[in-house]
């Protein structure tokens, strides 16, 4: 159609490339996650933040088990594959032996808040100098969309198709509220990838978490809310809106703890909200 602009090749007029397909630390863009899944976006912010803090060649990831695990073959990063829920302990042992390397875990809500809740809390309480990245979609995506320990009241999942009900299913755990107050936690923030601004802010959060680790200040965590249209049984296009309305109303975004200080109100990480790609 003549109204459209060609998008199959770089522009002919003089132009600067301001955004590349892939982050530096990503090998390929091709993956098997569902259409509209938010997890690849979370992984993008993570990989970009590593480069941001200059640790491109000095970082190791410890990976949990969930849909995002399939993305690890795309990652240009030294990795240790953990068992479901156990990544923070592996990161602890690894970081203790290689204190100059940047260590992060990549875990889902099923991995971190259900199967491995104890691991992350103890790691935080000990003040281990590692960064945990929690991808929270409120479901076990990988097994078909079941409720997890973070699924918010009212959320649709395979076993709460009418929405999670407190009396029947119990209450969700707010991971920030639980982890931020611990003595060993130096940085805690929750971001989202349901819109571009959220993605840009999340990247700044992850960057700050890494800076915390590099200063040796102790445990840092960034939770990232992601869409799972498959596990929520909704059309892909409705994912971002559903996340914003349902998940985010309970799991509020912002910084919860910074430089070891608990913030009374979740704060936006400083930086330029308008220049999305910085």
């Amino acid at each position: 159609m003549s109204d459209t602009i060609r998008t199959d090749a770089p522009p002919e007029a003089a132009a600067r490339r301001t955004g590349e397909f892939l982050p530096k630390l990503q090998l390929t863009g091709d993956h098997d996650l569902c259409p509209g899944c938010g997890e690849p976006l979370a992984v993008r912010t993570l990989l970009e933040a590593i480069t941001d803090v200059g640790m491109t060649h000095q970082c190791v990831g410890v990976i949990g088990i969930g849909c995002y695990t399939a993305l690890t073959s795309n990652m240009n990063v030294d990795l240790i594959q953990a068992l479901h829920g156990r990544a923070p302990s592996l990161a602890t042992g690894a970081k203790r032996m290689r204190p100059d390397t940047l260590f992060f875990t990549l875990q889902g809500d099923g991995d971190m808040a259900s199967e491995g809740l104890q691991e992350v809390i103890h790691t935080a309480a000990r003040g281990e100098n590692v960064t945990c990245i929690l991808i929270n979609n409120g479901v076990f995506g990988e097994t078909g969309g079941h409720m997890t320990a973070t699924t918010v009241l009212g959320q649709r999942t395979k076993n709460s198709i009418e929405g999670r009900d407190a009396d029947y299913h119990g209450y969700p755990i707010d991971m920030m509220a639980m982890l931020a107050p611990l003595g060993g936690t130096a940085y805690a923030a929750r971001g989202t990838v349901h819109d571009a601004k959220g993605v840009a802010r999340t990247r700044r959060m992850v960057r700050r978490a890494f800076e915390t680790q590099l200063r040796g200040d102790g445990f840092s965590i960034v939770e990232i809310l992601t869409m799972c249209p498959t596990g929520w049984f909704i059309p892909t296009a409705e994912g971002p809106g559903y996340l914003d309305e349902v998940l985010r109303s309970v799991h509020g975004t912002g910084e919860w703890k910074r430089d070891g200080e608990l913030l009374t109100q979740a704060a936006v990480p400083p930086g330029d909200d308008e220049d999305l790609l910085a």
Partner: protein, 359 residues
């Protein structure tokens, strides 16, 4: 040479450190607790780290992480704690990580778990069962060596007696073959090179979508076959003309050996065979030792576990019977009334009387 009085736990911790172990994590549980205490006391001075983990699940995870970065690392526990670690031991074996595990068992009833793997899937780890503190000092060093040589976990099977018996010993470094440089660990320096590493248990390869577990696991099986071929160890005495061959491992073997020596001293034709590695089990050696005997008498402190391996070795060539059994002190720590030279002597004598008679 100056010997120092050290309980087994202390000697093993020192031997581990002498072997280059730089990381330990554990959670207290009798009779493993002191091993953790000694590592905690000694490792920091050697630039190492010991973490008092909040559970066995976390302890084995920490050791996993340390191992994956290319350092010699160990963990351990007993009973319930070892059971909790089985998921990780299975996966670490398949991730080819050279972890050393100390099972200071309550008695000998974890033989199946140790030799068949209590976890899921097809996997095997080596098991060394020292008979006393002196041998434990060697075994610990051997364990780290074999673990790295084969990139496979090795378990040291001890018990209350081994952990708590103090002996006047010397921790002398073993002469062991030079191993090639570690080239499989992750230290972060391959990140960003386009050719990173992924330490995993299912055959994930960076840059390649999907996995191929069948190929990966078959390669592991071949490795395990090679270990089985080459690493079986045993000790035997007085087997030549023996009428009854007593088979025992670990602390029970210390009793068995003493009894066999006593009886031989009296001219009685008994022999002694000890699997030093429980996996691989020294089947060929045992089959040879059992040749011509009237009976193989298996002394183990449990309901009958190693006896399977003895039968699988002897394969009907001689009757095999149990002369051990469940035995426990009141606390369940495995220091039961069976641990008594006279009592065991009585059972060996009974086996001599039965001879090839009853099966």
């Amino acid at each position: 040479m100056t010997r120092r009085l050290m309980e087994g736990s202390e000697a093993m911790a020192e031997a581990a450190i002498a072997a280059g172990c730089r990381f330990f994590a554990g959670y207290p549980m009798t009779p493993f607790t002191e091993l953790l205490e000694h590592f905690a006391a000694k490792l920091p001075d050697e630039g190492g780290t010991c973490v008092n983990a909040e559970s066995e699940l976390e302890a084995v995870g920490m050791a996993w992480g340390a191992c994956a970065t290319g350092f010699r690392a160990a963990t351990g526990s007993t009973g319930q704690g070892l059971s909790l670690m089985q998921e990780s031991l299975s996966e670490m074996t398949r991730a080819e990580l050279p972890l050393v595990v100390f099972n200071m068992s309550r008695g000998q009833s974890d033989y199946f778990q140790a030799t068949r793997g209590g976890g899921h899937g097809d996997y095997r780890h080596l098991v060394l069962a020292p008979i006393d503190v002196t041998e434990a000092i060697e075994h610990v060093q051997t364990a780290f060596h074999l673990a790295e040589k084969w990139r496979n976990p090795v378990l040291i099977y001890g018990d209350y007696l081994l952990a708590h018996t103090a002996e006047a010993v010397e921790v002398a470094p073993l002469e062991l073959d030079q191993l090639p440089e570690t080239d499989w660990a992750v230290d972060g320096t391959r990140s960003g090179t386009g050719n990173p590493r992924n330490v995993n248990s299912i055959g994930m390869i960076p840059g390649i979508k999907g996995i191929d577990p069948e190929t990966f696991w078959k390669r592991l099986q071949a490795k395990h076959d090679a270990i089985a071929e080459s690493e079986a160890r045993f000790e035997s005495e007085s087997t030549e003309d023996a009428e009854v061959l007593v088979v025992a491992f670990g602390s029970m073997a210390r009793f068995a050996r003493h009894v066999v020596r006593e009886l031989r001293g009296e001219g009685i034709r008994v022999g002694y065979f000890r699997p030093v590695t429980l996996w691989p089990f020294p089947s060929d050696a045992l089959r040879a030792a059992a040749e011509g005997v009237q009976r193989v008498a298996v002394l183990e402190q449990n309901a009958g576990q190693m006896i399977d391996d003895v039968r699988l070795s002897v394969l009907g060539a001689a009757p095999v019977s149990a002369i051990g059994g469940i035995s426990s002190d009141e606390a369940g720590f495995g220091v039961g009334p069976l641990l008594d030279v006279d009592r065991i002597r009585g059972r060996v004598e009974a086996a001599l009387e039965t001879g090839g008679g009853e099966r």
